[in-house]
Symmetry: C4
Subunit: 191 residues, 4 copies
């Protein structure tokens, strides 16, 4: 099967997700700075989630670039990833509205953790179809950033109940780490 529609559908879902988040930024009923100030934490979480969805789209784009064909298992592994990503606007709105309260902050981390795990599953399923000597296999042999992200999420989730700001800092750390695009695949593809 061709990968074209898998890419188009994923692009569509992530494009909608990244934009409906902005609907959580409720238009303030007022025209002064006072009306805007409660929006600041909502805006901050919006930026963070926008970056996370951007990272997933970016990495998905790189990975699919190195993918030659897809099967039923890949379609479902991809939908599984999209499911967890689809919860991002919800947890973003919840965490932002409650000014980084412990429970929403922890659940935000759980959704990010599940998205990261489902991305790893998708990568594994694609690798199984393409074999250990494929371009993709060469590109992702040493997935340090992927493993470190999982560890940081696992630390941040319980930490949210101690200090939700510290948990937030860890989320930002993961985002910053990934903002550097995955040059491994880019390099392998150009060689």
């Amino acid at each position: 099967m061709h990968k074209g529609r898998l890419e188009a559908f994923s692009d569509g879902v992530i494009a909608v997700l990244i934009t409906i988040m902005v609907l959580e930024l409720k238009v303030p009923h007022g025209e002064s700075w006072v009306a805007v100030s409660p929006l600041v934490p909502v805006l901050l979480t919006y930026v963070l989630s926008f970056v996370f969805l951007g990272i997933y789209w970016n990495n998905h784009h790189h990975m699919l670039q190195a993918t030659e064909r897809v099967n039923g298992a890949i379609l479902w592994a991809n939908l599984h990833l999209l499911f967890w990503l689809s919860l991002v606007p919800f947890v973003t709105g919840w965490m932002g509205e409650n000014h980084f309260a412990p429970l929403p902050t922890a659940i935000y981390g759980i959704v990010l953790l599940c998205a990261a795990i489902s991305y790893t599953i998708l990568q594994t399923v694609i690798l199984r179809l393409h074999g250990p000597h494929s371009k993709l296999a060469a590109a992702v042999t040493n997935d340090v950033k992927g493993k470190l992200s999982l560890v940081l999420y696992l630390v941040a989730i319980p930490l949210a109940f101690v200090s939700s700001w510290l948990a937030g800092v860890l989320y930002v750390l993961v985002a910053v780490m990934w903002l550097v695009p995955d040059r491994r695949i880019e390099k392998t593809l150009t060689h």
Copy 2:
């Protein structure tokens, strides 16, 4: 006519549907477990509907893969399918908010039944254009899962007024049955 835009438009509509459902998950006004608990049935129906829309996208993807060209009748049969799918977020929100009350649960089944019927119509219209010796015809000769789904919906809808939970179990059964992707088309295409 080429099938490219039919696929692109269907991908777009299903991508939007699968993501706007998440807007029914209203951000809770509170930061405790108590605020989250009313969301559990809403979340469960969200997962169920996400899987159903995923199944339709998946099967649509397989069927169109085996389709060579489209005509006006196919465009309209496809829009008819999309119409019923577009009601899924509405009935999902209604069933979830009312904790599986009889009427919403029955109407949820009616929408699923109509979607299944319109999918069968779409398949029939595509087969008529491609003839009885096409790849697609060979792939769908023995549509056991399709017929069984219709039967299960027809049982579940009246059952909802007796026990809405039993009806819900039947819906889950249909979803699980389809989660196994339609290998018939995949096999026929690769042979």
Copy 3:
């Protein structure tokens, strides 16, 4: 310039429009037939608008199939069409919620009229680029349905203030007339 992105963007906008209309179907706060009954006119207008947007997508699809290249004027004529279509969910919700009151029913017709005019403009701009001997020119020489639609809208809009139900009947008539796909272009293309 290639027409690919014009098609993709139009597909995207129409796909979003046709699905966000469903957000006007507010989930009823109740589980009985009484809770559903105020939704009936909303649902009827939803079906009508779904069909109208489907017709536009369908005709747009046929017209662009016969288009070979695009220029800046076509991009803007297309955006102009999308602008009027983007108001459809708004007027649909307004007309449905007010049970076909005169003013919303008239404004619904005005939006449909403006969409029809902008579609004619788009067609004219495409024809100008492709010349009088193009396939598209041969296919649309005798645009009876297009002209009749404009007349019916012009009758329906003032009629809404006398009998909004009669105006509604005229809208349905236009939709039914167009439901038969534009075989002219299909035939011209296959010959």
Copy 4:
């Protein structure tokens, strides 16, 4: 890397943005002219923002047409542009609801300014990859409209606190200036 998915994703995001803005046009609870009149400023800002997003899509379309390949830096510069565009529905709703009050009108200009800057960054990053002798470089050497827009935004933002209507006139001026499509790239491509 191919530019296909970058285009598809940008089309998706801008298509969603341009259509979810219509959700800010809240369906009025009434059927008279009185119910509609508070919507007039909201509708006006909707038209303005629709045109701005249309301009960005149009220019993005022209620029990417002249782009041959993309890299990680371009993906992120593009996401950065999409981020600022994603705030347009929010500031549109806010400015419209408050009838062009000073603060929302100034912030509307800030978002437009940031979008313009991020577009310039995207252009620079693409130019860096394609070199000074590329088609795109020839097409954008003399970016008068781009520079003039930045100046007009910088004037309009503080002006909003003196006269928000004058600031609005400047925004309209920028939009009108860009409505003439960027023929430079079109010409360079056809030569």
